[in-house]
């Protein structure tokens, strides 16, 4: 795809930030999907890592074209989401949270220890196949789909189960199925974001998908709120731009993102964009 020259210049100069905004927006949406059904997954970074590593291997070892690799990058994260989601989602929410943090930790150990995955050095020499338009097209499609799903019986069911899962079940909502669907959808989104990131940056390593990124993704969604799918994306954009705008901020990023979560839960339970969608057709 060719862009007009001014746009081309702009994209070239700020390419990394522009990619990060789009990819972090997708990650924020992947968090939103789970929070919207009243669950907490701390495995978004892990799912992203699974998408990144599996797609990088498909490109590097199998030499598959990107239009195959990108959609296929969601398979491994989705399988992990099923393996963890099926047993935990019938239980109280703490089990999913625990199992997903554990997933992040164990994957990091596996990336570090397995030679095929490059060990501590990670995988490098990944060809740059990600185009800016791909990221933003997917972001727009994801927002549109989530918006429409939100404005339907499914969206009403999701809000109902977030507020009172038992009452929602009595209304005939198959709470377990929605939870599992949401977790798998979120793993798919995160996995694709991981593949886009891997093919935008040439290198991936075990520490990019560890504890801190996992918490950061949660801070995106909590800062923005989960009233509409735009809110978490806005949260992601604010937290991605801050270190670019404020010099010396990036050292304090971990402290800041962590405190965002504390303050958001304690004082701002609906996020910055405390809007909620109306879901009535006409």
């Amino acid at each position: 795809m060719t862009y007009p020259p001014w746009l081309d210049d702009f994209l070239w100069t700020y390419q990394n930030v522009i990619h990060a905004l789009g990819i972090n927006g997708l990650l924020a949406l992947s968090m939103y999907v789970v929070l919207a059904v009243g669950q907490l997954s701390l495995g978004q970074a892990a799912f992203m890592g699974l998408g990144a590593y599996s797609s990088a291997l498909m490109t590097l070892k199998l030499h598959l074209p990107f239009f195959v690799v990108l959609p296929a990058s969601c398979v491994v994260p989705a399988l992990f989401a099923l393996a963890i989601g099926v047993p935990t989602l019938r239980l109280s929410g703490v089990y999913l949270a625990i199992a997903t943090i554990g997933l992040g930790e164990v994957l990091r150990a596996i990336y570090l220890n397995l030679d095929v995955l490059g060990g501590a050095l990670g995988l490098s020499g990944i060809p740059q196949r990600t185009e800016t338009w791909m990221i933003y097209l997917l972001l727009i499609v994801a927002i549109a789909v989530l918006w429409r799903v939100g404005h339907s019986r499914i969206g009403r069911a999701m809000e109902a189960m977030r507020e009172d899962p038992n009452a929602a079940q009595v209304m005939g909502v198959n709470v377990q199925r929605y939870r599992l669907g949401a977790l798998v959808a979120s793993a798919v989104l995160a996995g694709v974001a991981g593949a886009l990131g891997a093919h935008a940056s040439n290198f991936i390593g075990p520490n990019e998908y560890g504890f801190e990124p996992a918490v950061t993704i949660l801070s995106y969604a909590l800062l923005g709120g989960i009233g509409t799918p735009f809110a978490p994306v806005l949260g992601a954009w604010i937290l991605t731009l801050l270190p670019e705008v404020l010099r010396g901020f990036s050292d304090f990023r971990g402290v800041f993102n962590g405190l965002i979560i504390v303050l958001a839960v304690l004082f701002l339970p609906n996020g910055l964009l405390a809007l909620r969608m109306k879901r009535r057709a006409a």
Partner: protein, 269 residues
């Protein structure tokens, strides 16, 4: 004809038998009341029937199907709906959205239709909104459909819960203490509502402490005490049943004694 029956239904909680071998039959088209002192196991019985609590033993038959092991949402799909003793509306949603949630399993549009906004989606939503408005009209909340449910006064929240449960025209409606906290005028309009619901073809099973209300509207009464069924029959026969009188009087005496002991903390039966 029997719509709902339980056989030997039992539920234990850590050493306590909340529901103890209850046999019960609810006739189609009737208003059936379950009464009993506090802690008798009435709510637990409702939770067993709607599936929120699993039975320790015994079985539940609904409309000819054994539903004892069916998940909660599937029971709703068979035509069972309920309200809760402590109101459980979705307070962050509007009144209309609450009722639409009650129609969840009747709206047929799939994910594809929803995402692509196919005609089927619009049709299904439109039908659902019409049905939801009818349910709101039934309970007299039409004018408040756009308000946030959490902002409604108490009595309206109770009626919203009934509208939400009635939206999908269930075969069986379970009401757990629907008159709790209502004044006499509200209680009598509730009685009228329950009759309308029965006349529209929904069987009603309700728990209530207000004996006047129970005597007034029920066709049959089951009395529980300490989880056990101590009476089953027409409301007129209750007053002659020694076991029932003893259960209530015994309870009252105990409450009076307790009140004398610790000053003011009398627990109303």
């Amino acid at each position: 004809m029997t719509l709902l029956s339980t056989a030997g239904l039992t539920r234990k909680f850590a050493g306590l038998v909340a529901v103890d071998g209850v046999d019960m039959a609810v006739e189609v088209g009737s208003v059936h009341a379950v009464i009993g002192p506090n802690g008798a196991g009435k709510t637990t019985l409702f939770n067993l029937i709607s599936g929120l609590v699993e039975p320790t033993s015994g079985s539940i038959d609904f409309n000819g199907n054994d539903i004892s092991r069916l998940p909660v949402h599937a029971r709703a799909g068979l035509g069972m709906a309920r309200s809760f003793q402590n109101i459980r509306i979705f307070s962050a949603m509007t009144v209309l959205e609450n009722v639409l949630t009650g129609l969840h399993s009747t709206i047929t549009a799939g994910v594809g239709a929803i995402v692509l906004r196919l005609p089927g989606f619009h049709r299904a939503e439109k039908t659902a909104v019409e049905r939801a408005r009818m349910a709101l009209e039934l309970v007299g909340l039409s004018s408040k459909s756009e308000l946030l449910a959490g902002a409604l006064p108490y009595g309206d929240q109770r009626r919203l819960e009934i509208a939400r449960a009635m939206a999908a025209h269930p075969r069986l409606l379970l009401l757990d203490e629907p008159a709790a906290g209502m004044n006499p005028a509200e209680t009598s309009s509730l009685a009228a509502l329950v009759r309308r619901i029965r006349d529209a073809g929904t069987t009603v099973l309700l728990v209530e402490h207000d004996m006047g209300f129970v005597m007034d509207i029920s066709d049959a009464v089951t009395v529980l005490n300490f989880g056990r069924r101590i009476f089953h029959g027409p409301p007129g026969a209750i007053r002659q049943e020694p076991a029932v009188i003893e259960a209530y009087l015994g309870k009252k005496m105990a409450a009076r004694l307790a009140a004398r002991k610790d000053g003011q903390k009398a627990i109303a039966p």
